[in-house]
């Protein structure tokens, strides 16, 4: 059984919910998954066999703590299987819902010191009631320009949970291809992870999930 750390940087909770869904699916496959906030200082990522980072967008960019975390834990992240996914509303558009076409994930990867073996993009949630006055009007304007829902009572999740389940399957395949930290010992854990061939999960729609560049 592999231990997998799922870290989220969430603004309104959707990245956390996606991490929890992935953890549940990994649990069904016999893996031990831990979900935690990226900013949780108590968690040591080197104690896990694999790490998944999920980050959402606010005001058009990921929180700066995401890149700072990737920079700080670069050595640990590079030494084991890892995955990164972005949660943003732009990903609701078919033309921008893959790691290759989503502008936010591409910008994050361009700046990231860590290039994970697996990347994903998921559409987020739109809930005007939870936004502040300025954010609400800004988002309504953005949605109006992009022909999205502008009714201030709108609460809609664009997340495709089947695709999240498919991503969980790919994470499980990724982890199975690498030695466990506990089994291999600290010396092996520090060594670079072998390039993992991500097996295509038959349940997963391929366009949403793809190996990193």
């Amino acid at each position: 059984m592999a231990t997998i750390l799922l870290l989220y940087s969430s603004v309104y909770g959707q990245s956390r919910r996606i991490c929890e869904r992935i953890a549940a699916r990994l649990g069904e496959r016999g893996e031990r998954a831990t979900v935690a906030a990226l900013t949780d200082p108590a968690l040591d990522p080197s104690a896990f066999d694999a790490i998944v980072v999920g980050a959402s967008i606010k005001h058009g960019k990921h929180h700066p703590t995401v890149l700072e975390y990737l920079r700080r834990h670069r050595a640990v992240l590079q030494s084991r299987p890892g995955a990164l996914f972005s949660v943003n509303l732009v990903a609701r558009k078919p033309a921008k819902n893959t790691p290759q076409t989503n502008p936010y994930l591409k910008a994050l990867l361009a700046q990231s010191p860590w290039q994970p073996q697996l990347t994903g993009v998921f559409a987020g949630e739109l809930d005007y009631a939870r936004y502040g006055a300025v954010d609400k009007q800004l988002m309504r304007f953005v949605m109006w320009v992009n022909r999205g829902p502008t009714d201030p009572r709108t609460r809609v999740s664009f997340t495709n949970w089947d695709e999240v389940d498919g991503f969980a399957g790919q994470v499980a395949e990724l982890v199975r291809g690498a030695p466990s930290v506990a089994a291999a010992g600290p010396a092996a854990a520090a060594a670079p992870a072998a390039p993992a061939a991500v097996a295509a999960d038959p349940r997963a729609p391929a366009p949403e999930l793809a190996p990193a560049r």
Binding site: G60, K61, P64, L67, E68, P103, A107, Q111, G132, V142
Partner: protein, 171 residues
């Protein structure tokens, strides 16, 4: 639960923006030199009062922006990281917009803006503390230069935010 500073930073930004707007717009009518006299008009008094209130806001906001290693994002040059700024500048030369993520040009502008605001607020507060002497005259001169630097970087920040908004709206 989000840390207190993170939850406050959005409101602090709005408060700072309002205070700085007032201080900048009213500054042409400020006539303070060596000391704040009893005959100082309401514009001078308001400038001193709002400026003094701005100092703790700047300090808390700066703390929020630099905690947990985030200072590398806004002050990459302090860590010797010029690659993000260089990449954005080269991209601009090719007609591309700078990136919104990470320690690039936009974040560096925000860092310089914060720095200029800090110097402006500190020299203003010290002027109040040391008014009446030659030190106050010197502090006033530094305060004005820092405020001018702040105004220039604020213009760059507004331009950067506008470009970012274009990206955001275009989705």
């Amino acid at each position: 639960m989000k840390p207190l500073l993170e939850r406050l930073s959005g409101r602090l930004h709005a408060l700072l923006a309002a205070a700085c707007l007032w201080l900048l717009v009213s500054s042409p009518w400020v006539g303070l030199y060596r000391e704040l006299t009893a005959q100082a008009g309401w514009v001078n008094l308001a400038h001193a009062g709002v400026g003094l209130l701005t100092l703790p806001l700047v300090l808390v906001y700066l703390r929020a922006c630099t905690q947990g290693g985030l200072w590398r994002t806004y002050f990459p040059w302090l860590a010797g990281q010029w690659s993000g700024i260089g990449r954005d500048l080269r991209g601009m030369a090719r007609g591309e917009r700078p990136m919104n993520e990470g320690a690039g040009l936009f974040a560096a502008i925000e860092g310089l803006l914060l720095l200029a605001l800090l110097v402006t607020a500190v020299t203003g507060a010290l002027w109040l503390l040391l008014q009446g002497g030659q030190a106050a005259v010197l502090l006033r001169a530094v305060h004005i230069v820092a405020a001018q630097a702040f105004a220039v970087t604020l213009g760059a920040h507004v331009l950067a935010v506008s470009l970012h908004l274009v990206d955001l709206v275009r989705g």
